[in-house]
């Protein structure tokens, strides 16, 4: 049977990382990690897993490849069990293999939790493997670059401090041609909410900032964006295993909201960012819940619709289907609100199967798409099950309120010739809403 060793992909970051390792060094770091950061969860999971293989069907990689080395339990057996069995004393090449499995063959989507009777959280185990690889300096080059960017400028895309307000002012200027009274309020203390986005938005998806401003303007909201670092809510350091940088990024994000004395943080349509802010980094920082309430766009749009603040001129006529992003569905339970918003906007919604908490992953999240071109083909071919699921809906428009999902789904759509296009809720709202000032 084939294993990870049979499908290694050259990556400069991984290769350079392992070239600096020795079995002694790996053993030392591994033992420190297990003793220092791991506890009852890892111990219970490793001991009580009965190797039943029921989780196989949970994983889109396995369902697409039908190769037993891609099942969730196989990924754990090729990484953590192997390391534990050797007490961490392994050849550097083993770390290369562990890193490729952990960073590029698991999206941490947690679908397998719905398959394991014992509730074993494979995503957590794989995160520990990533943490080890990070501590050993063995991370894929592309995603490590984004972590470096987080470290240096507190955003993922090397956006400089002055480029950020510049971009917002540019978008404000553009939008004012369509909506003369529109502002993108910067650093307004005491606003109702701080709107935060991921760094790719100012970098190359500025249209999304434009749209959000147009929606908030039409709804007459009291909002602000920060003028300082802390505006980026994305967090690739969370996925490289660099918990220290992860928490620095989130601390800056929360503290920026506190400095602005806003009532809450509204986050754009991104899944992993929500996971970082809502579920992961708060714990690392020692907050059980959030120092400032955190709301994802899906929920926020739902509120605006409930309050009658978003009015549309007509409904989207073509049939659409809904992709449930793992980080806001399995991660936050927004499946009903996502549907209510979509039904409010669209005439005809065709559900894909399985859906809601049981939906198949986009295969881009968990930092996998961020590992870049070397691993692109694997993740696209590794999600033919998603392509089949999309094709079966027979529709041409796909609503996906998550950036990573967009990236992954677009790749699948193009590879498998599905003839679909993906939309954010913001795209639809902007397209359909009443634009009073536009006349």
């Amino acid at each position: 049977m084939s294993t990870i060793a049979d499908r290694l992909i050259e990556d400069e970051g991984l290769r350079r990382g392992v070239s600096r390792l020795t079995p002694e060094k790996i053993e030392k770091v591994f033992k420190e990690l297990i003793a220092g950061e791991c506890g009852a969860r890892l111990k219970t999971y490793v001991e009580s897993c009965v190797r039943c293989g029921m989780c196989a069907k949970a994983c889109h990689y396995y369902m697409s490849h039908k190769d037993p080395s891609y099942t969730p339990v196989a990924k754990v057996s090729q990484t953590m069990w192997r390391l534990l069995a050797a007490g961490g004393r392994v050849e550097p090449q083993v770390i290369y293999e562990c890193a490729q499995v952990a960073y590029t063959e698991c999206n941490l989507c947690r679908r397998c939790i719905h398959y394991c009777p014992l509730g074993i959280d494979t995503g957590y185990i794989i995160s520990v493997v990533r943490r080890l690889c990070h501590k050993l300096g063995v991370t894929p080059q592309y995603i490590q670059d984004t972590a470096h960017s987080h470290s240096a400028v507190l955003n993922q895309m090397w956006v400089k401090d002055d480029e950020w307000p510049d971009t917002l002012q540019w978008q404000e200027e553009e939008a004012r041609e369509e909506f003369p009274g529109l502002r993108i309020p910067l650093d307004v203390e005491g606003a109702d909410f701080m709107y935060s986005v991921i760094a790719p938005e100012p970098k190359f998806r500025t249209q999304l900032i434009y749209q959000a401003a147009a929606i908030f303007n039409a709804a007459g909201l009291n909002w602000t964006m920060p003028a300082t670092p802390g505006w980026d809510n994305s967090n690739m350091a969370m996925f490289t295993g660099d918990s220290e940088i992860m928490s620095r990024v989130e601390r800056a994000h929360y503290e920026t909201a506190q400095r602005l004395r806003v009532k809450r943080i509204v986050m754009g349509e991104c899944g992993h960012a929500f996971r970082a802010v809502y579920d992961v980094a708060n714990r690392w920082l020692g907050w059980k819940w959030h120092p400032v309430p955190v709301v994802h766009s899906v929920e926020f749009f739902w509120e605006l619709i409930q309050q009658g603040r978003i009015k549309i001129t007509h409904k989207y006529a073509d049939p659409v289907t809904i992709h449930d992003p793992c980080n806001i569905i399995r991660g936050r339970g927004l499946m009903d609100k996502l549907r209510e918003v979509t039904h409010f906007l669209c005439e005809n919604v065709v559900e894909m199967s399985p859906n809601r908490e049981h939906n198949y992953c986009c295969c881009a999240g968990g930092g996998v798409i961020n590992c870049g071109p070397p691993f692109k083909n694997v993740r696209i071919v590794g999600n033919s099950i998603k392509a089949e699921q999309l094709r079966a809906t027979g529709v041409h428009t796909l609503v996906a309120p998550c950036h990573n999902c967009h990236g992954g789904l677009e790749d699948i759509i193009s590879k498998f010739g599905l003839g679909m296009h993906t939309k954010f809720l913001g795209d639809l709202i902007y397209e359909l809403m009443e634009k009073p000032e536009a006349e």
């Binding site: 049977m1 950061e37 791991c38 506890g39 009852a40 969860r41 111990k43 219970t44 999971y45 001991e47 009580s48 897993c49 009965v50 190797r51 039943c52 293989g53 029921m54 989780c55 196989a56 069907k57 949970a58 396995y62 037993p68 080395s69 099942t71 339990v73 196989a74 057996s77 939790i113 719905h114 398959y115 394991c116 009777p117 014992l118 509730g119 074993i120 959280d121 579920d279 714990r283 690392w284 020692g286 059980k288 569905i329 399995r330 991660g331 936050r332 339970g333 499946m335 399985p354 908490e357 049981h358």
Partner: protein, 219 residues
């Protein structure tokens, strides 16, 4: 052989029950202490209402996605575990032993029913072993321990059935039956069989995370 039989029903039985009970309590308490010491940021979210709701789904055949997607394993697993508890605890032969040595007695299953259920356990053990060796995704992660623990359970029930039907040397089979049963008890706290101790807690924990933090079901 008589001496071995006496050893098996005497000191070894005490030892097996002792190791099983004390070992299990120790493992649970030690794991709890470890969780409180090292997993504070996760223990903080434990929510028993969510845990019980999820466990109710997982203890129901086909009550969770994983069960529905693996129907063969689901049926086998449920029948296997029910019989695994029912037969040893309510077998007339076992109750008689407790009655003789300790004066404890409780209602028993009809012998015929217990016999059928025991044979079912043996058949399902054979099915599990077959899966281990021939289903690729199971074989990929199977180690010697996995084969060993299933074989141990199978052997205990097989020897019990053979002894009951008086097939083969009764004393040898009965002794083997008792010894393998004792080995199984001793193995529970220290092998994969520890899922008997930890399973409800690992499921309950993740159910708490899903229920109280993520507001999504985990079944």
């Amino acid at each position: 052989m008589h001496a071995l039989y006496d050893l098996a029903v005497g000191p070894l039985a005490w030892l097996a029950f002792g190791v099983f009970i004390i070992g299990s309590v120790y493992r649970l308490l030690a794991m709890r202490a470890l969780a409180l010491r090292k997993d504070g940021a996760f223990v903080a979210y434990v929510s028993w209402p969510h845990a019980f709701k999820s466990l109710a789904h997982w203890f129901t055949p086909f009550g969770a996605l994983g069960w529905r997607e693996n129907p063969g394993v689901t049926i086998a697993t449920f029948i296997f575990h029910i019989c695994l508890f029912l037969v040893p605890l309510f077998l007339m032969g076992h109750i008689v032993l407790f009655d003789t040595f300790r004066g404890w007695s409780w209602p028993a299953l009809p012998d015929g029913a217990a016999d059928v259920l025991a044979i079912v356990v043996v058949v399902i053990c054979a099915y599990f072993l077959w899966r281990r060796l021939s289903v690729p995704e199971v074989r990929f992660v199977t180690s010697a321990q996995d084969v060993l623990v299933v074989s141990l359970v199978g052997l205990t029930f097989l020897t019990g059935v053979l002894a009951y039907h008086r097939i083969g040397d009764n004393l040898v089979l009965t002794t083997l039956h008792i010894l393998s049963g004792e080995a199984m008890l001793v193995a529970i706290p220290f092998t994969r069989l520890s899922h008997m101790l930890f399973g409800v807690f690992s499921r309950g924990y993740i159910a708490s995370e899903f229920g109280s933090v993520r507001h999504a079901k985990d079944w």
